[in-house]
Each structure stands twice: as structure tokens, then as C-alpha cells.
Symmetry: C2
Subunit: 434 residues, 2 copies
């Protein structure tokens, strides 16, 4: 049991098995460089908080401190502030959800809800079904609890029900246990697509038939551009859906306040898991949000955000049309992201250092797959930079991509690289899932 | 794989094995009743935040919003705000700790540091050694990752090194793996005792020899009454100690800001685990604390807290002397808690409903043992009620305890219940650990 004191990490043999799932992202170091101000970052998912009414937030804080300072500075309930949970019902009602305030649990961002749900359900080798591509840090959580992730195919209308059926059958044939389907059905991160209403019903039916929980993650649903998306899956199915929401995208991520709405028995266990992990979510930031929602026109503020992000999405689509007309990309009706498909021979990860040298950053597609797919994809975020910077970023990106294509053509002179005809709103399904 | 829709919890068979460790405390429902204002609660661990300079906190918040609002409202680094980590070094220096700012990770209260460390190290059936009695919600975390907890004996000078040696030997003889020693060496929760300097060195030496990590949890160290306690264990041993600190007791728990100081390689993994769990700790509350520490006399404020809690401790000790002179209790030099030993035949848990009926609450001793011990112990908190309420609470408690003793004597008339001679500063070691 003694350790070698001269090892780089003398506690190396002490870690739990699950710790091997916690590896630093390959592009992490590069993103540190990419955060320099001269780089146009199309990589992150930071909301544009400068569009918030900061005076109103400051006023709300002052009122909380004046009227109920000691309560806001104290420990709270593990389930979260009752007044805020009531207001969360109003937020969810906008997406067709009717629920009891008793079934809402406030979490430290919806990220922590992902962690708590995973801790509660996943044994090593249990299977989580997720869209391909899927939200990267959800997959980090699943892997940190030793889940196996299998990706279902997506197209312009979200995850493909037939692919879901096929995956369920093949996972079960392999003798494995499926614990839940993880989905971002509306304005998906990273694909930007939305699951159609018909498919929502079909996916719910498949999961009901197969006794599979649905983990519906909906950070972007209220940030639509051209008209509201279909109602949440939770609006039609109460017992089989765990629903995650957050104030990080419609208000501010610095507060770290999200929530989970879960069937009764699961909710009870989530409160216990929340208390074990953090005792109680921050009374202080919950009180501020609750006060802000009482006095501010918060729906109007979300509408302001819609306008900001709509303009940025349009700027990105225009710039892609102008500078990279031969590529394929998705056209989102909301959210933060566009998913771009490069020519087959291009590798977005190996191209990234050159992009950063040209002062533009993006997220390589492989980050959003657990199985190595996405090599010729990238996620572009339009949420944070202003329209001018977005345009300039895409211009820089086009010089990088065109340079890569030229380089590849030089090295394969007999057969010049061909680019598929543009199909701007199609996700390129990974070969092994089609 | 289909579920029975009429079960109380149709997902009952879907939970992970570890979920069985997440059970609601038996006294939880009672504590809900005990939070009524007419009940004197000697049960909780809530700091007296009303002693804080609220105007100064409000000013700090306003300055943060004015000077760097968008940064405070945004996502931050998974490791925490660099400026705050520098200030955390100043806090730890007061207890003899020298460290690099690179090795500090900010967490959502030190509770979340406990969760992250446990997630990182504990496989099912791994052993955690803890003092008996030990902090209840640390044990909840260990159990939620399926650790086995074994308790070492304590006395007035903290955990007993010979008992630690004996436990290490017997656990290893049983073929089990010890992952760490969890200890609250200073003003222990719940025992109120402090590990002597000589024993700190001895415990560190035992753990070094046996390749066992020390998880030093120190929420109360700066809240001393009669003179500073020995320096932190981390002050003499860098590679073998993971140190946990928090602003919850010296400032306010509503911010949910604590930290972990860990050896280099472990720290790197803790950042990854923190990012998976919550993306980043709250930029907003970190910024407020950092601003407050820049402008306020925070050391003077901690001294104010010392005065408040010293007066309350004295009130509780005086009341115990006056109303319950035949019991045994510890005499803490800091922190929040006194540990009381009742006559052998009394059961503090079964007595609690009667206490709440008499409008006083405490925490039964069994909550602080993983093995059913502590039946005739209780933890009394003096942190929150004012001295007058503390005195009234102890008076009410004395009527409950004396009523119990009378009742027991009535039913065992041949041999009246005897009370051990008072030894006010001795912990009563559970029989199986002596």
C-alpha cells in the first residue's frame, strides 16, 4: 500500500475507477489562447449579458439586502426558495409545461442537475442514449460516472425515431441496460436543429414502450427567432420525463441557478442528492432572481435577447453565404449555435491551431461525439460577438478553410478535392449511424 | 424491461446502486416542525449572519455591478476567480498554511469540495476513516458513493492516534482499501474538541507511513474564543493533505463559496470534476466576496464573530451547569457545538419529539455515527440563538431530560438510574471503540 514518493502523482493509484473518465479536453489549452481579445471566438457558449438591464439588477439586489438580507445570506432549503420555484412554473408555462411547485428542485445551474441525475441513475457500463452530436459537458458528466454513450442519428428535424428504435434494440441485444435518453430537443447544442412536434410524440412513445426515461435539457427554448418552437416534451408526458431548465441563458450564468422538474419519487431523491452535494443552492442568488422577476419585465427582456441573437444568427448566415458558400450548415430558429460540415478530407481539430493563428476560434466537431465522429464538423457560436465581429470571424475562417483545401489539393493533384453541393440546412450524419 | 405503471415509483429499478445510500434523515420531518419560531433550536449550524456589516456588503455588491457587472454575471473559470484565490491564501495564512494560488480550487461551499473529493477517490466498499462522532453530511456524501465508514475514538484532545493505528491494521487485515482519513481537527463538528499539536504531528506521521491521504475539513478554525488553536495540519504536510475551507462560517453561507487546497495532481482532477458538476463556481458571489475582502476589515469582522459566539458558548455552559449539572459535556474553545452525554439508559432520538413539544430542539447523537452509536449523546449548537434563548432552551431541555429520567426510574424501581459523576470536558467514547 505504500506509494512511491517520486512519482509525479503519488496518489495516482488511489483514484476511483470513475476518475479515469475525467480527462482534460484536447483543445482546452488552445481555448486559453483563444480567449485573448484579438481573437474572434466563435467557440464559447457565453450569453451576451451586456444586454441585461444592469441598473434593475442592482436595484433588485439592494432591495433583497434591505428587506431580507439575513435570509439571503443564510443557508436555505435543499429544494430551493419556494417563491422562486413558483416563478419557475411561470417560465415553464411558456413552453406548455404544467407542474406542481413541489416537483421543482433548484440546482447550481442546470449543469448540476445533469450531475445529480447521472449520479442517481448511472451504474458503471449503463448506457445513455444521446443525439449525435450532443452537448459536450453532458457527455463529460455521463463518462465521469462510467456510462457508455451511444449516439442516435439526427437530421434537420432532430433525432431520428427509427435510429432510436434501432439503437435500443442493438443495445439490448448486447445485454446492456439503457438508463435514459438525453436530448436537447429545441435549438440543440451543437446542431442548432429542433425536434419536430410529431417526432416529440413518437420519441416519447418509443421511450414509454421501452421503459426508458427521457432527460429533456432545454436551456434555449425561449430564445427563438422566427416563431416559437414546439412545446416541451415534458408538456405531454409527466411520468417519464426529467426536465432541465436554467436562468443562465435568459438571465445570467454568473448566478448559477437552474432547475430540474422530475416525477415525484425521483424529485425526492434529487433533493437528497442536492443536499449531499452542496447543502442548499445559494439563497443569495435565488433571492436576487426572484426579486428581479417580481419587478422587471422579464418576458420583455427575453424578447430583447431574441432580437440580439436573431441579428447575430443572421450575420453569421450571411457571412457563411458570402465567404464559405460551398460548405454545409444548419439554419437554427433559436439558440446559440450553427453546425458546419466541412469537406470530407478536412479535420477541424487539426485545423484549429491555424485558425487561432488567424485570430478566429471555433469548437471542433469531435468534441460533441463520444465515438470519434465529427472530424469534419465544427460548431460556430453566434451568441457572444457582435455582428461585425461575427462577419470578420467568418472571413478569417474562410481563409483558413480555403488554405486547407488548397493544401490538400496540392498533395492530391490527380484527384482534386470535391465539395458536396450545398445543402445549407442538412446535418451530415456520421457514416456509422445512417 | 417494462415497468409497472401503478408502482409508487415506476423508476424504482432504474436507480444506480449508490442511490440506496441517499436516505432521508429520520429526524428530518421533525426538524421541519422545529423551525417554527416558538421553538428554541439548538439543532442547526446556522451562523449568526445578522452580525455582519450589511451596508458594507451592499456597497461591495454595488461596486461589483458598477465596475465589472458583465464579468460577474458571466460564466467564469472552473478553478475560480484568481483575485479571490489570492485572498484565500491570506485567510489560510492565518492558520499557518503557505500554498500556491494555483493549488486552490473554489467550490460551491466546502460541502461541494467534499463531494468532488469523494467522487474522485471512492470506489464502492472503499473505506473512509472518520472520527466518532463525525460531521453528518460528510458521511452522507461518503455513503452516497458507497464508501464504508469506520470511526476512530476521540477524547478531549481529538482523535486518538492509537485508535487510528488499530483501525488501519484491522481494516487492512480485512483486505479492504483505505482511501482517506476524514477529520475536522479544530473545534470539531459535533464534538467541539480540538486535536492537539502533538497529535496532529503523530496522525500525519501515521498517515504518511501508511500511504493514507488526510482530508482536513476546517470550517471553524478562525472562530476561537480563548486563544488560537494549533495550526492546520496542512501547515506541516503538503503532499498528503487535502484541505477544505469556507466563507460560510466567517462570512455568509448564502454565497455558497468554499475552497479546496490539494496537492498539484489532485487539484488538476478536482478542477475537471468541478467543471463537470457545475461548469464554474458563481462569478457573482465570488466577485462580491473578493470586493468585500478588499474594502472591509474582514479580520476585525471575524473577531466580532468570535465575541458573539464566545458569549453564546458561555451562556450555554452556564445554563448546563445550572440546569443539568449531572450530565457530561465538552467545553469547546471555538466553533459552534457542544457534545452532551446523557445517562446510559436515555435515548436522545426517541426523546426528541418530547423536546420539540417542549419547544426546544437538538440533534440526536446517532446522526454523527455511521454505526448506530451515539444513542445517549446529543449535539447542542450555540451559534444561532441569542444568550437568553440559549438559557431558556437549556431550561426546557432540562425538564425533558429530568422527566425522562423520572420515567425510567419509575419503571425500574428496584435499581434507580444512576448518573456518572460529572466530568464536563470528557467525550464519552462509544463502548466498541475504547
Amino acid at each position: 500500500m505504500t506509494t512511491q514518493p517520486n512519482n509525479l502523482d503519488q496518489w495516482f493509484h488511489h483514484y476511483a475507477d470513475r476518475a479515469s473518465g475525467l480527462a482534460a479536453s484536447e483543445v482546452r489549452a488552445l481555448f486559453a489562447v483563444a480567449s485573448r481579445p484579438e481573437v474572434v471566438s466563435l467557440a464559447g457558449g457565453m450569453p451576451y449579458v451586456s444586454a441585461l438591464p444592469q441598473d434593475l439588477i442592482t436595484e433588485s439586489i439592494d432591495r433583497v439586502m434591505r428587506d431580507r438580507g439575513p435570509a439571503a445570506l443564510q443557508y436555505g432549503s435543499g429544494q430551493g426558495l419556494p417563491a422562486l420555484r413558483e416563478q419557475i412554473l411561470e417560465v415553464m408555462a411558456l413552453e406548455g409545461i404544467r407542474a406542481s411547485v413541489d416537483d421543482v428542485v433548484v440546482t447550481t445551474g442546470s449543469q448540476h442537475a445533469l450531475e445529480l441525475v447521472t449520479k442517481l441513475f448511472i451504474n458503471p457500463e449503463d448506457v445513455v442514449i444521446a443525439e449525435g452530436p450532443s452537448y459536450v459537458t453532458a457527455m463529460v458528466v455521463f463518462k465521469s460516472f462510467q456510462a457508455e454513450i451511444t449516439h442516435v442519428e439526427m437530421d434537420d428535424f432532430g433525432l431520428v425515431p427509427d435510429s432510436l428504435r434501432a439503437h435500443i434494440a442493438s443495445v439490448r441485444t448486447a445485454g446492456k441496460t439503457i438508463k435514459f435518453l438525453y436530448t436537447v430537443p429545441t435549438f440543440s447544442n451543437p446542431a442548432g436543429v429542433t425536434l419536430s412536434w410529431q417526432r416529440r410524440l413518437e420519441v416519447l412513445e418509443i421511450c414509454r414502450e421501452n421503459g426508458i426515461l427521457v432527460l429533456e435539457d432545454n436551456p434555449y427554448g425561449l430564445l427563438y427567432f422566427d416563431g416559437p418552437p414546439p412545446h416541451a416534451m415534458r408538456s405531454v408526458e409527466e411520468d417519464g420525463v426529467i426536465y432541465l431548465g436554467t436562468f443562465s441563458k435568459t438571465l445570467a450564468p454568473g448566478f448559477r441557478v437552474g432547475w430540474v422538474l422530475a416525477p415525484h419519487a425521483i424529485r425526492e431523491k434529487l433533493i437528497l442528492a442536492n443536499e449531499a452535494a452542496i447543502l442548499s443552492p445559494s439563497s443569495f442568488t435565488q433571492s436576487i432572481i426572484s426579486e428581479y422577476m417580481s419587478v422587471a419585465d422579464w418576458k420583455g427582456q427575453i424578447d430583447t435577447f431574441r432580437g440580439v441573437y436573431r441579428e447575430r444568427r443572421d450575420a453569421m448566415l450571411d457571412a457563411l453565404d458570402d465567404y464559405l458558400p460551398d460548405l454545409q450548415w444548419t439554419v437554427p430558429n433559436g439558440g446559440f449555435y450553427i453546425w458546419v460540415t466541412l469537406p470530407d478530407n478536412l479535420d477541424s481539430k487539426s485545423m484549429l491551431p491555424r485558425a487561432v493563428k488567424e485570430l478566429v476560434a471555433y469548437t471542433p466537431g469531435t468534441a460533441f461525439f463520444a465515438d470519434g465522429n465529427g472530424r469534419n464538423n465544427m460548431r460556430l457560436s453566434f451568441c457572444y460577438p457582435t455582428p461585425d465581429f461575427i462577419r470578420e470571424g467568418i472571413r478569417r475562417l474562410s481563409t483558413v478553410i480555403n488554405g486547407e483545401i488548397e493544401l490538400l489539393n496540392t498533395f492530391s493533384q490527380t484527384a482534386p478535392l470535391t465539395i458536396a453541393p450545398p445543402a445549407p440546412s442538412m446535418i451530415n450524419p456520421p457514416a456509422n449511424l445512417s
